[in-house]
């Protein structure tokens, strides 16, 4: 089923807000200038949120500004879903609040993937860095490829599957390892 992206963004708006806040956080951590931020907007075209920031030719700031939301959204998705996953999955104990919290966790997880613009910025920088013999930047290429693939596959709910993987499958795996 194809649902317009803006409707998905509206339904999962906490994820958009966390994603943009994570961009802003890493910009501030690395001392990059930020010109404009929109944490969320009810738009039917264009991005649901954005951060306009200073470009940088430093590798790690560029990497973390682009991929920071991926880390933060994924960790939050796991932490939030894990706690409500246990009672439902292992004890059939249900409460309405678990579903609200689960929605929050999955919404955040669904917006973990960096945008194509983030990937484009990173790609351009990685190419420059490799020319300058910084071979660590090679790591970026598979990540960028994954981001592109993920964003293309979002038409077939790849972002939801990713969130389900982090929020539901990962807690299951962790419990299997613990037990």
């Amino acid at each position: 089923m194809i649902i317009p992206g803006f409707i998905i963004a509206w339904l999962t708006f906490p994820g958009v807000i966390v994603h943009e806040a994570a961009h802003l956080l890493f910009c501030r951590l690395f001392g990059l200038y930020v010109l404009d931020v929109r944490f969320f907007r009810f738009a039917t075209t264009g991005p649901a949120g954005y951060v306009v920031h200073q470009g940088t030719d430093r590798f790690w700031p560029a990497f973390f500004v682009a991929c920071g939301p991926f880390l933060i959204n994924s960790v939050l998705c796991f932490a939030i879903c894990f706690s409500v996953f246990l009672p439902i999955r292992f004890f059939n104990v249900e409460h309405w609040s678990y579903y609200v919290i689960g929605w929050l966790g999955l919404s955040i997880g669904m917006h973990a993937f960096p945008s194509n613009q983030d990937a484009k910025n990173l790609w351009a920088l990685a190419r420059e860095k490799i020319k300058a013999a910084n071979y660590l930047a090679l790591l970026v290429f598979p990540i960028v490829a994954l981001v592109y693939v993920g964003n293309i596959l979002s038409i077939v709910w790849a972002d939801l599957f990713y969130a389900a993987g982090v929020g539901l499958a990962l807690p299951e795996l962790v419990m299997r390892l613990v037990l």
Binding site: R28, L76, I80, L86, F91
Partner: protein, 308 residues
């Protein structure tokens, strides 16, 4: 604010309102006219661009008179905007939302940690019970788990079941029956029906209700037709009936069951079987019904054996 005149119309405009188009300074209106017939391929950000007034803040349009603002990221910015883009503030509502999110994460993790603990205790308890045979310790851990998650019927059932098994080990048959009665939807491998029958049989024996003892023993035998202890127990029940009422057919059935049990037991001998058989024969011969403990005392046997 700095002003300059349009090269075409000659009117004066603020510098920010003017464009540079192919090295001419033009107002918006004149630029539209001038660029109308120009090949669009030649229009680039180098040939046509908006002029920047260094005395006007590019972000908030604050006017600094004739003094240029300091340039940040190649833009004239007032001190306030310059500071803001250097340290872009998190809006209050975002801070509040972050605090809320942290509270939700911490609260749900703390509130639901009991499920995590209970799941670990449950798993450990089942391993203790079914892999190591440490039933009392397993029952204790399952009880703790059930108390951590009182909403869970599964934990309550498992806890009752293990408590029932412990009660059986302690020969508290009534307690065992009460525990087993609280068990719901246990998988067949727990053999709840069999355990319940054994506990009920013991209760019936203790209450000297030999009719019930016989009925339950035959029910158990129907569940475990090839089990020598179940067969012997049916013999024991008939022996009790014979001892209590003296009907020869009960005596015969008791001996028949014992013979059958003995035959099956020979294939895979149970060390407790012989004592049990002797006790039933004693019951048939003397028509005295005594407990296993009394029988052992009578014959100076130290071994424990729990079949009635």
């Amino acid at each position: 604010m700095r002003k300059q005149t349009c090269d075409l119309c000659g009117h004066s405009f603020g510098l920010n309102e003017l464009l540079s188009a192919f090295n001419e300074t033009l107002c918006g209106k004149c630029a539209d006219g001038r660029l109308e017939n120009v090949d669009s391929a030649t229009i680039t950000d180098k040939t046509v661009f908006r002029l920047t007034d260094p005395t006007i803040c590019a972000r908030c349009t604050a006017d600094n008179g004739d003094v240029p603002f300091e340039s940040t990221l190649e833009m004239p910015l007032c001190d306030r905007c310059s500071e803001q883009i250097r340290h872009y503030p998190f809006p209050l509502w975002i801070k509040a939302a972050c605090v809320g999110l942290v509270i939700v994460v911490v609260w749900t993790l703390a509130a639901n940690a009991r499920f995590f603990k209970a799941r670990i205790l449950m798993d450990r308890s089942l391993k203790l019970a079914f892999q190591q045979g440490e039933i009392p310790l397993a029952a204790e851990q399952m009880y703790t788990a059930a108390n951590l998650v009182p909403e869970s019927q599964e934990l309550a059932t498992l806890s009752s079941f293990l408590s029932g098994v412990v009660a059986m080990q302690q020969e508290k048959w009534g307690d065992a029956v009460r525990c087993f009665e609280q068990c719901r939807d246990l998988p067949p491998q727990f053999q709840l029906d069999m355990m319940m029958s054994r506990a009920q049989i013991a209760v019936a024996f203790d209450n000297k209700d030999y009719g019930e003892f016989l009925r339950l023993s035959l029910d158990l035998l129907a569940q475990l037709p090839g089990n020598p202890t179940a067969i012997a127990q049916a013999g024991s029940a008939h022996a009790c009936m014979y001892a209590a009422e003296g009907r020869p057919e009960d005596r015969q059935k008791a001996l028949d069951f014992l013979a059958r049990a003995e035959e099956i037991n020979r294939q895979d001998p149970d060390p407790t079987f012989d004592e049990y058989r002797e006790r039933i024969i004693h019951r048939i011969e003397t028509r005295q019904i005594i407990t296993a403990e009394a029988y052992r005392k009578l014959h100076g046997i130290a071994q424990t054996e729990k079949n009635p």
